[in-house]
């Protein structure tokens, strides 16, 4: 997801400003010297300055041609596949406590493999077996309390 340096620079200037704004309510030390706010403010100022330099460089090199082509984005396989990963992890977070690890994990792996053109019967078998092995390793051997959900194993 490449966007122009001008925009990235502007993003860092904004981030710096927001961080600085976030420190405004921080208390000073007893003797009135800056305490908790000193370091984040320094980071914020430097981040905004570096961002400004990057933005200005990008602007001068007029790299707008490199800017993201929003309309073609949905046709980029890499980008859509990346969205699938995102959706997969989010679905895992939302579902795992209700459905349990064995079902949710296998589901996420299956959908991703299917999206990456593994034929579905093969993907299904690999997803179920691999996920069960992960469960065995983490839940049974390392004793990580992976959510059980609907299945009790």
């Amino acid at each position: 997801m490449k966007i122009s340096d001008t925009l990235v620079g502007a993003g860092f200037v904004t981030a710096g400003a927001l961080i600085f704004a976030g420190t405004l309510g921080y208390p000073p030390l007893d003797d009135g010297q800056p305490g908790p706010s000193l370091f984040p403010r320094l980071v914020a100022v430097l981040m905004a300055s570096f961002g400004a330099v990057l933005g200005a460089k990008g602007f001068r090199a007029s790299d707008v041609t490199e800017a993201l082509n929003w309309r073609a984005l949905h046709r980029s396989t890499g980008f859509v596949n990346a969205l699938f990963v995102l959706a997969g992890v989010l679905a895992y977070i939302l579902l795992v406590e209700r459905l349990g690890f064995l079902i949710t994990g296998a589901l996420v792996i299956f959908i991703l493999m299917w999206r990456l053109r593994v034929r579905w019967p093969r993907a299904l078998v690999i997803a179920v077996v691999f996920n069960a092995l992960v469960h065995l390793l983490f839940a049974k051997i390392l004793r990580v309390p992976l959510p059980l959900g609907l299945l009790w194993w």
Binding site: Y26, G35, P36, A82, V89, Y92, V144
Partner: protein
């Protein structure tokens, strides 16, 4: 010497050898598969080290990383894709030689120079670390402040292609390090009312996100494609090797030292060592015009340097608690997780542990010859592993690994956010490694600065009047001028060499 024998005795355990063998295979596999880096392998190993004793955890990381940095050379030679960034410098030369039918010679040189470089690094680590630890015992908060500043400066000025982008990545890491309860007043910063963030951004899920999830995201584009790898006969890799290595013995010595120097410098890792050794090699070569077109000489240089750097990276990590690269940054995270504080005191309190790190580097680099030989033999199979099955599997390891540290889904969300950040940064040419160094060095920098200020009642002159602090301060400032050095080195009247 007693400690050394004591450490050797620790290696009598069967369990430890099991860790060594498993981690060697893991490292060789991750290194040989393009797109998976040694840092990612280290991040994914962390959840497992959580359940190991400190000794096994350190040995696991040492063997895995040494093997991975060598194995990265295999796809560089066979498919023209570096397996890890540390092999990038000489990928073109390796592949050109393979096209000329010399794949066996390239892989033989890769393997043996990796082992020799690794052993050189291990020896320097054994000699330099205890000596520096003695010096470090006299350090106060002023010196530690400058050391952290030196590490940060090296990351930005030496290890980044664009200092502005490297600096921005570093600042993001420093910002993450400020999240949570502050050191001076215990005031909660940037927690947005969340209890999970009171202890700060958890290092492990952040690592797994930045180096694991972001790699998965990046590999999603062409995951269904297969590599077409050149065939190689592993039995032929030692033919004519001794002669080649003897011809370039000076190169090996020089490159080993370059790697060690870059390694001891906090903040710059094996990939930088390889690039610098490559450049130095070209400068002193009798046939610089061959570089990039299939010369064996730079492969000797850079192949030695990246492995010698890997061991030397542990010097600042163990002695000062300041990471030499992103892998040792993870090691420092593991040590803290185990309740151990890296720094000069660890040499007095846990000498066996430190010596065990030396011994495991020596063992790993000796084992590298037979294991590496087998990896080259199996390279055909490893490069055929379907990545459209591998990537979803790695993602699941990332998810479960992040969860396992605190048994918290919050950490899985944190991992995802960091993964997106890492992916977005890489796509825009912003390096990810400085974020990690910022996260590790941020607290060291802030704590030592605030402690120094409060104990001297805001007397800034102490940062330059103490001799140790002054030396480190001057070194730090010298690093800021690194981009100007090529201008100073340029011969008067002569144009700089064309790229």
């Amino acid at each position: 010497m007693d400690h050394f024998l004591g450490a050797l005795a620790l290696f009598g355990s069967v369990k430890l050898w099991l860790v060594i063998v498993v981690c060697s295979i893991y490292g060789l596999f991750v290194g040989a598969v393009p797109g998976l880096t040694a840092t990612m392998a280290a991040a994914l190993l962390v959840p497992f080290t959580f359940f190991m004793d400190p000794l096994s955890a350190l040995v696991a990381i040492v063997t895995m990383s040494a093997m991975a940095i060598f194995a990265g050379d295999i796809p560089a030679a066979l498919v023209r894709i570096p397996g890890t960034p540390s092999s990038a410098a000489y990928t073109n030369d390796s592949y050109e030689l393979t096209k000329q039918g010399k794949a066996e010679l390239v892989l033989g040189v890769d393997l043996v120079t990796s082992a020799i470089g690794g052993l050189m690094g291990a020896v320097i680590l054994m000699l330099a670390a205890p000596f520096l630890a003695e010096v470090a015992l006299r350090f106060t908060s002023f010196e530690y402040f400058w050391l952290a500043a030196l590490g940060l400066s090296a990351t930005v000025m030496i290890a980044s292609e664009s200092p502005v982008k490297g600096g921005l990545a570093l600042l993001v890491g420093l910002f993450f390090s400020t999240v949570g309860v502050d050191i001076t007043l215990g005031y909660p910063r940037f927690t947005f009312g969340s209890t999970e963030l009171l202890n700060g951004v958890d290092f492990i899920p952040a690592m797994i996100g930045l180096f694991g999830v972001s790699e998965v995201l990046r590999n999603m584009a062409g995951a269904h494609l297969r590599f077409r790898a050149a065939a190689v006969k592993a039995e032929g890799i030692f033919r004519g090797l001794a002669e080649t290595l003897w011809r370039y013995k000076v190169n090996m010595g020089r490159a080993g030292l370059i790697g060690v120097f870059i390694g001891i410098l906090p903040g710059a890792g094996a990939d930088i060592a390889a690039w610098i050794a490559y450049a130095v090699s070209r400068r002193f070569s009798k046939e610089p015009e061959q570089y990039g077109k299939g010369a064996i000489e730079p492969i000797v240089d850079a192949g030695t340097a990246n492995n010698s750097c890997l061991a030397a990276d542990w010097v600042p990590a163990l002695v000062f608690g300041i990471p030499g690269d992103s892998i040792t940054a993870i090691v420092i995270g593991i040590l803290f997780m185990k309740g151990l504080r890296p720094g000069p005191m660890i040499f007095e309190q846990q000498p066996e542990l430190v010596y065990a790190v030396y011994v495991s580097f020596i063992i790993a680099n000796i084992l590298m010859i037979p294991f590496g030989f087998l990896a080259i033999k199996a390279s055909g199979i490893m490069l055929k592993v379907p990545r459209n099955i591998l990537m979803p599997a790695i993602l699941m390891f990332c998810i479960v690994g992040s969860f396992a540290i605190n048994n918290s889904l919050f950490d899985v969300g944190l991992m995802l956010a960091m993964g997106i950040l890492g992916y977005f940064f890489e796509a825009n040419g912003i390096p990810v490694a400085p974020i990690v160094l910022g996260m590790v060095l941020g607290p060291i920098l802030e704590q030592n600065f605030m402690v120094s200020m409060i104990k001297t009642d805001w007397d800034l002159t102490q940062f330059v009047t103490r001799p140790g602090a002054a030396i480190l301060g001057v070194l730090t400032i010298l690093i800021w001028f690194v981009p100007l050095y090529p201008l100073l080195l340029r011969r008067p009247g002569g144009a700089p060499a064309s790229p």
